[in-house]
Structures are given as structure tokens and as C-alpha cells.
Symmetry: C2
Subunit: 209 residues, 2 copies
């Protein structure tokens, strides 16, 4: 199993965490987003969506990190990421999508690039944009989280933590003040005490710049 | 079961389609996004995320349309939206997220509002922004679709169609030229021959302006 990855891609970071949590044997294949390698012929022949990450399996190549995570969770049931009854699973997905749909896509590198190149937005306003969507999203998420737990839900990592940790990592890069979100900050700190999370972090990747 | 909805909200539109396909008895409760009713006390007491849609069930209120759709699919197995083996399910989710994560969030009303109010982007550039993300997304999606089918996958509607149809509806509002995406256009036309889809369309809602 091969994961096409870029050290700073949040979506690839999610899948790296899941592969580690489930202890699935895999190879990481770096694709440099800053050099637009994801738009190159070789990568497009693997994943016509031209986005990272993509998982190459015996059955074919799968794009979309959330689809990959659901697929891994179904085919490698050890350490389930989405667990409990239907309502509990819905809570995990709700928290996950509050990050993966409501924050991440708007702050993606290609969107930030469009702001700079097409709309001539300066760096200060671009960074404010980044922080705005994180802050609006984290404010809502903080309300949904339960104070009692080390993880987003219950006492073991779920899909929600897999989505949240990369988002916090990037928020810190953009100087979001995490003291405003004590529950999220505590979950981030706790997750990073686990090797599955810290080994997946951007600075610990072979392609880290 | 109550669905908090706004006629033009793509995410609410998805859930309306699913409720129809599964023939689940439900009540639609309109929340006017243009009047910011989703930020009002009454709605926030139901859904602290302050976004549409939300589904009120006997177990509580659930936000995030994709979480709602997965929950409905698990609890109301008639007319499954995500079906087949793990790999086939992954393909359905991949196509769904290519719309729900890669296009929709960037073109959401709150993002367009931010462009106008915070970045003083004029209407022409804002409409171009809208079309850009649809066009980039549809171009990739078109490559992933199989010419042979009436629906995104196989011969019955899936989560992918539930996500795609509202996105095409909105793309048409923004004058995206759909002739560039013949497979998507054909799926859209075919889905709309089904009452479950056409009854859920914005113009057929009681709160349609």
C-alpha cells in the first residue's frame, strides 16, 4: 500500500495518522505541492483529481482523504476510527466534518494561491483569511466538545482527532491563538503524546523542507 | 424528525433528497439564511454550529449534512446511498467528497459574503471565483465518471448523486457552462426525472423566495 503524500498537506497528514494508529504496513511516496508535482503527468495518471493524498491499493488508486479513512476503517477494523452505535458514529462524523468540510477546504493552499494571484490579496489579508475560518470553526467546535475527555469523543482517538490534529498544526503555523480554544488545545497536546500522531507530523516526514 | 432547511442551501438540499429517496416521514422547518436566522438564539440552541442543515431526531440534533446522510443511511437501510463492497463504497464517497469537500465549502454563501465585505471583491470577480471552483472540480469529476450510467455509480442513485445534483443546480444559477461536462449534465438531467430529486429542488420548497 502506497500513500502519495506531502509533509505539510493536512489531508495527507490525516491518512498518515490513521495508517499509524492501525499499524498498516505502507510506503510513503512524496509529491511536492510547491513544485506542483500533483499536476504532473505521472501523478495524474495515478489520481486524475490532481490532489493529495491518494492511496494506491491492490484494487486501485483512491483519492479524497475522508474516503480513504472510511475505506481503511472498514477494511482494517483494528483500532476503529468510527465506532459506537449509529448516533455515536454520527457525532464522530459531525466533529470530523466540522473541520474537514467547514475549515480545511477554504484554507487550502490552492485557495490561498487564488487569493494572491487572481485577487491580488496581500499576505496580511491572506493570513487574516486563514485565521478567520479557523477561528469561526474552532469556536463552534469548542462548543461541541466535552470537557471530560482526552480525545474528541470518549477515551480513544477517532476520525475526529485524525481530522482535528492536522488542522491545529496548521493553525499554529498561521499564529492562531489557541488559548481561546482550551478543549481543542488539550486534545491536540494529548494526541501528540501518542507516537501514531507525532510520527505523522509534518516535521517528522522524510520530505520535510 | 425535523429538518432545519433553507430552500437554496445545497447542504440542506442534499438531505431533502435523501429523506425523499428513503421515504422517511419528516417535517421541514425553514431557517432564512439571508436574514441570518441561523445565527439567532433559537436556532443556535438547536445547533450550536450555526450552519444549515440540522436534523432533529429523538436522540438529539445533528449538524453537518454528510454526517446526517451517513446516519440516515445506517438507520434507514431502505434505498441505500452507500452500497457495495468496501472498494465500491470508497468510490461513492470519493465522488461525493469531490463535490462536498472540494467545491461546495469554497463557494458557500458565507465565503462569498467574506469576499464582498472583507476583501471588497466586486460581483464580477466573486462570480468568477464561484465558477472557478466549480469548473476545476467538475473537470476532475468528469474524468472519474463512467459514461455508461444514468447515475454517478451504477444504475441507482447514491450519495454521490445526492451531493452532485445540488451543486449542479447552483452552478447553473452562476451560469457555469455545463456543456463542458456532458456526463455530469446527463446525470443531473436523469436524476431530476425522479420525484425524490425534483421535489427536493429549491424552487419546489415552501420557503422559496
Amino acid at each position: 500500500m502506497k500513500l502519495y503524500t506531502y509533509f505539510r498537506s493536512s489531508a495527507a497528514y490525516r491518512v498518515r495518522i490513521a495508517l499509524n494508529l492501525k499499524a498498516i504496513d505502507h510506503e510513503l511516496v512524496p509529491v511536492n505541492l510547491l513544485k506542483s508535482e500533483q499536476q504532473g503527468e505521472h501523478y495524474l495518471s495515478k489520481n486524475p483529481q490532481g490532489l493529495l493524498p491518494a492511496l494506491e491499493t491492490e484494487e486501485g488508486v483512491l483519492g479524497q482523504s475522508l474516503a480513504i479513512l472510511e475505506y481503511l476503517d472498514e477494511t482494517y477494523p483494528q483500532h476503529p476510527l468510527i465506532y459506537g452505535n449509529a448516533w455515536e458514529k454520527a457525532q464522530i462524523r459531525n466533529l470530523s466534518y466540522a473541520v474537514a468540510c467547514d475549515i480545511h477546504p477554504i484554507d487550502n493552499l490552492r485557495v490561498l494561491k487564488y487569493l494572491s494571484t487572481e485577487l491580488a490579496v496581500d499576505d496580511e489579508a491572506k493570513n487574516k483569511w486563514y485565521r478567520h475560518w479557523v477561528e469561526v470553526g474552532f469556536e463552534k467546535l469548542e462548543l461541541l466538545l466535552d470537557e471530560k475527555h482526552d480525545f474528541c469523543v470518549g477515551d480513544k482517538p477517532s476520525l475526529a482527532d485524525v481530522c482535528l490534529v492536522p488542522q491545529v498544526f496548521n493553525a499554529l503555523r498561521f499564529n492562531v491563538d489557541m488559548t481561546a480554544y482550551p478543549k481543542i488545545a488539550a486534545i491536540y497536546a494529548h494526541c501528540n503524546t501518542l507516537a501514531a500522531f507525532s510520527d505523522a507530523a509534518p516535521q517528522n516526514q522524510l520530505d520535510a523542507g
